[in-house]
Subunit: 96 residues, 5 copies
């Protein structure tokens, strides 16, 4: 999983039928250094079941982990990334 | 999933039999910063079931997510990346 | 798997139900060069079943490997990264 | 999947029994920019069922996609990368 | 799969029970350019069933490919990376 910040939502009319009704967020991966938090430059597109908002710091899971967040044990989910946690805080200075 | 821009199509006569008839696109991954959109330098090859065209901004899914876009629940699909959405717009400034 | 150093714990009240009760760590990936150990800049979020503490050097497994650390053979675990070893030492100079 | 150029073949006497008889290629990932094609610096090792030769531009599939190229639907194939197409041309200037 | 050079072994007393008895190696990924071989900066931790030694050039497989090297067809193996070949030579100048 990675830690990132929600940049906003993307929308589309032309999409795979199995994505219909799903909310997709742009999330900018962040890392924490001695100088504080900064974006790594990697941006992922993730589904959101937790109603995360722009600016929220979140945990994104990938692959089967993400599909199990959507539908546990199911083998036919289309997504490969999902917001699984909205971070409240951290024991790492500068990481909340 | 990632967000990227369609660069064009690749074609081949020598290919794995299970790829016959599939349209393959070159997609350049993009990220969005305060300076606007720019390519990250990563280029992926993805199948396209949505008839995306050169210059379109798209969402690409990977792994089982991509295979489930092609054939839900199937376990024998060859591809590992598929265009699953053509982006119309975004709530992130500069990301559409 | 990768080698990294534990930065601290993240916490949240808003999370996927299947993450309830799980401890999540921020782990900074490290590499070892002739100049010694340094962070690569990649930070992952991993579950921890080994009670690793801040500053520990650990091995993190990903994907089904991580899910099999949590629940062997299970197909519905949400996580995609898990601490599977706390490193005591190494035969590589500077890598312990 | 990625696009890359075949650098050559690697050989070994000490190998996992399930790799016996398999041809393994070194493939340098390439990207296409406005300045033409250049290597990204990433090199992968992939099996080859298409008799690709040094200098050929190819598409490499990963994970289950690669295993399905070798043996569709099989769950016990060792490889994680396979050449699935030898590119003849492209609609992207400079990408063939 | 990737090509890399064995840096050494890591050891631990605190580990996931399913890793007990497994030898874990640090492997530095390498790439080959016109200037010869150099490390990419990526270091992975992989199991070793081939008795590879420090300084050996090896092929590392990931994910289910690695698990199938350990136990073909099994679905409960913890590891996600395994040494599957010790490279003897290559048709690429500078890559052996």
């Amino acid at each position: 999983m990675i830690r990132g910040r929600v940049m906003g939502e993307v929308w589309a009319t032309k999409k795979a039928p199995r994505l219909a009704g799903r909310k997709l967020l742009l999330v900018a991966e962040t890392c924490v250094t001695s100088d504080g938090e900064r974006p790594t430059g990697r941006v992922v597109v993730a589904t959101d079941l937790l109603d995360a908002g722009q600016g929220d710091t979140v945990v994104v899971a990938f692959g089967s982990g993400a599909r199990n967040a959507e539908s546990p044990g199911s083998r036919d989910v289309l997504v490969d990334a999902a917001v699984v946690q909205v971070i409240d805080g951290s024991s790492t200075p500068g990481a909340d």
